[in-house]
């Protein structure tokens, strides 16, 4: 059951983060292509957004490894 819990935790967290990261990066690249002069602002927003989105799968990985090995 520990392996199943780890797989569900890491899989669902990675799924959500993948969708979120994809949306963030696609919109950022689109914005950079439309307005190259705003690329600094978009880059900052993407940096913060990707960083905060990845907090959840990192916690998923932590919970998965604790469920597997602790």
């Amino acid at each position: 059951m520990g392996a199943l819990a780890a797989a569900i935790a890491i899989g669902l967290a990675a799924l959500g983060a993948g969708i979120g990261n994809g949306l963030i990066v696609s919109k950022t690249v689109e914005g950079m292509a439309r307005q190259p002069e705003a690329s600094g602002l978009l880059r900052t927003t993407m940096f913060i957004g990707v960083g905060l989105v990845e907090a959840i799968p990192i916690m998923g990985v932590v919970i998965a490894f604790i469920a597997l090995f602790a």
Binding site: G51, E54, V61, V62, I66, F69
Partner: protein
Amino acid sequence: MPDIKVIFTRSTKYLFFLLALFVLGWGFTTYQTVFAGLILGTTISFFNLWLLYRKSIKLSEAVANGRTVYSLGSISRLASAALVVLIAIRYPEYFNILSSIIGIMTTYFVIIIDLIFLRVIKGKQQEER
């Protein structure tokens, strides 16, 4: 909103302050495993932030030059968090696992608090104008 380099520099400064506090706590208190876990987690969290900064700059340069970027380095960041957990589980006599996990999340707390701080300062400056 400030440039990515400004945000990274500010976060780096606060993370170094926090790391110095943790080292002091490790050296001068009896909670050595707790502070060692915090140092381990914060160091890896710092590495994650640097990796994200580097990849973000590479992405924006690639967009500007019409090149392709294949990854933002998510797997490396997840693997580094897994490494912290494995080290904390393998050596519980040196690292407290709970404080290691809190250490991994330090960067996110720093970024969020710094952003709120910047927003408040910017809002006050705009009100004064």
